[in-house]
Amino acid sequence: MRKGVGLIGVDGLGLKIGLEVHCQLTVLNTKLFCSCSSNYRGTEPNTNICEICTGLPGTLPVLNEKAVEAATKIALALNCKIAETANFFRKNYFYPDLPKNFQITQYDKAGGVAIAKEGQIGTSDGSIRIRRIQLEEDPGKLSYEGTIVSSPFALVDYNRAGVALVEIVTEPDLKSPKNAREFLQKLRSILEHIGVCDGSLEGAMRCDANISLFGGKRVEVKNISSFKEVERALNFEITRQKTMAKAAKAEGMETRHWDEVRRVTVTLRVKESEEDYRYFPEPDLVPITISKNYISKVKARMPELPDKRKERFVRDYKVSEEIASVLVGEKQIADFFEACVKSYTAPRLLGSWLAIDIIGYLNRSEKTFADIKFSPNNLAEIAKLVEQKQITDSGAKTIIIKAIEQGKSRFEIGKKEEGAITDEKMVMNAVKMVFGANRKAVEDAKSDPNAINFLMGQVMKATKGRADHSLARKLIQVELLAVQEPSRK
């Protein structure tokens, strides 16, 4: 322990967090090495398979060229160095979800060259370096009865086997569990913007986290399903490893499993040393050549990335940095925002509704953006009503949240949520109308304050109770004076 003091960071924990993120290239129609559909979701077990992705004897992989394009886009988006020539390696280990008992992947040692390396993503807590980006095949899936520990059997489904994955490995640069979550959110938004991975699909983005404290041994946490869970799992690990350190128990290198239900990590296997995967070059595939020309072609087709989009939002829509950051945090939200603004130009109002109120509600209620059923046009109309002072801002928010809550595609503007009409013209129109219809009351009002109350009631009735009280009273007084003027003449 004492020896490790020099390694311990300013936070006193010597916290080191690195992530390995597996992203399915959901944009591809077919798997990485065969022509089965890459969309295995919702299919009957073991129906989305062929002799290649189940590794039947004699079959050979053929690389899906589109996967190289997608990986190149990712590499460009993360400012990586792209390899001129990359190759595939075999990672050998026995596991029932792996049809060949090896995985075709990439490697950066022993002559292996992954598709890209040395990139970075900026976060609010500094830049996170990307160590490498590699293409590989997804294994199948095991289903257990109950939990992995208690299940008496496992069922294997190979529908997912062979789906194209890009593994993104970071350096241990993440400053905190919160920072890890932010990084993942940012990565997801980037992947969505370049259109290669739809992070909203279950299992499309999966994460293993490596964490060590006090310069101790690295612990790998697997089976983390969402970004929120990553933060939770890391927080749990920090507490657990601190406790271990206090009890002076040395941490061994191990792999732990995140139990989402109990919110604890449990030991999966203790590693004596690095697992020996016996990596060697995949003899059935030829090296991938990525020419400068190819890269510039891909570059030319690169869409606007979240950071640039954020700058544009601040510049063109005059929304704050904070709001813009949140908006571009998810491509769907940023797209929704822009569609709203196109329909009705109230970017600051719409931006703050989306970034603060709507996302805040979604996070609190464990809903996602997909649960929003109303259209950008609908939301823009509400913004219009607020800007025209037909309803209040807080009334509008209540309406919006209610629509999300109830999964409605239309807004219901009930009496309760309607704001006071503070528009002078509108209230004056109502007053004039009431004066015209109640001549006697107007006469009486000159001497009888009760008649003023009557007129007030009529104005409220005419505006369905929405006229601003003090404004209505003021305008009634003004109008009374106006009708008295001629008699004075």
Binding site: E51, L56, G58, V62, P283
Partner: protein, 474 residues
Amino acid sequence: MKAKSAWEIAEGTRDGSISPVETVEALFERIGEHDIEIKAFITTTKKLAIEQAKEIEKKRKAKQKLGRLAGVPIAVKDNICTQGIETTCASKILRGFIPPYDATVVKMLKEEGAIIVGKTNMDEFGMGSTTEFSAFFPTRNPRNTSYVPGGSSGGSAAAVAKELASAALGTDTGGSIRCPSAFCGVVGLKPTYGLVSRYGLIAYANSLEQIGPITRDVRDSSLMLSCIAAHDPMDSTNVGEKKDYTKFRDDVSRLKIGVPKQYFGEGTQKAVSDAIWRALKKLEDEGATIEEVDLKTVEYALASYYIIAMSEASSNLARYDGLRYGFQESSGARNWSTLFSKDRKIGFGFEVKKRIILGTFALSAGYFDAYYLKAQMVRSLIIQDFEKAFKKFDVLIGPTMPTTAFKLGEKTVDPLAMYMSDCDTVPANLAGIPAISIPCGSSNGLPIGMQIMAPSFEEERLLGVAGFCERELA
């Protein structure tokens, strides 16, 4: 009476002078008579073959175009996938595996009108040079049944030699086509790596092996090669193109022949080297120039070969765990790793297990650099050595095997001697170049094979020299 060649059968089938149904029926009679002793086949497919033959007859009567191998009975090594026909690699672990697809070469042969008559015996997964390592039974050499037919494509070579098939497909990882062809006195061609599709070939060592023809003469070899060499998008390592190899020219008058010193080293039988030199003399008489060449790195070929082959094999054979196809001994297994171990323990033979263990070791952390990487470096040097030699020579000629066939049981007790016997064949696999073995006399009634090697994709030149020798040595 000399049996008709594949060429003659195809010609006769097309012009109607030969009935494919009669050919097949006669052939199965021969198989019934002789295969009890030779044991070339693991599976025969009489019913399917007769159906195919009838189909061809129907086509001919309807004046439809018939393929280049119309009506030719062909045996296929049991490590090449055949749709609907059990494919075992002569291993217990693949017992019951019926591929749902045809290997590209099988598909191509069928399209040319070939009739698949059965699947031939081999050393389990191609691991051996005698066909004694078949999990089922050994095959015997038709020239003398006390001897092995060579391996690993021993069943294919024996079937062709005994006329139980007009031609056969073999596979060659380190000599598995050429060795049995030499021992059985037939023609075996290992094409350039990448010329013939490997799709459907159950891998032993992917970076070394090719499918190739085993035939009774050189013209049949060229015909078979013309039918199986083509680009296949299903095999990324395939760069083949369609070409008619039957038009080879057997003019050797200006041929520059290199004779690698290393191919006549210690362990080469005198009868073998004498036979090869006699043939070389014939070539010289015809105007060819003969010069000895020193291929220094070839001395390290065997070591390099076995490390690469076993390393790749250890990974290729990992998929046989009993979970998805083939053999399964699941009773009593409480978890998957016990199940895997049990199935692999019972399913694989001793030689296969030995090679998996050695390959696993060679790829292990800490040993990888010293073994696998070094073996690959040696391989690069061998490739360079051959490239250099081919700058000077058109072909290289030497014996296929240092000896004639072994007695049954002779090499199983001395595995190192068996591995050593591959010394003349493995260099071509490491270098990826084409090599052919043709009959070149005999010793004590056992055939001797002469090996001709050419630069990559120069199969036509190879066949030309082989064609000349075949004519002049007969």
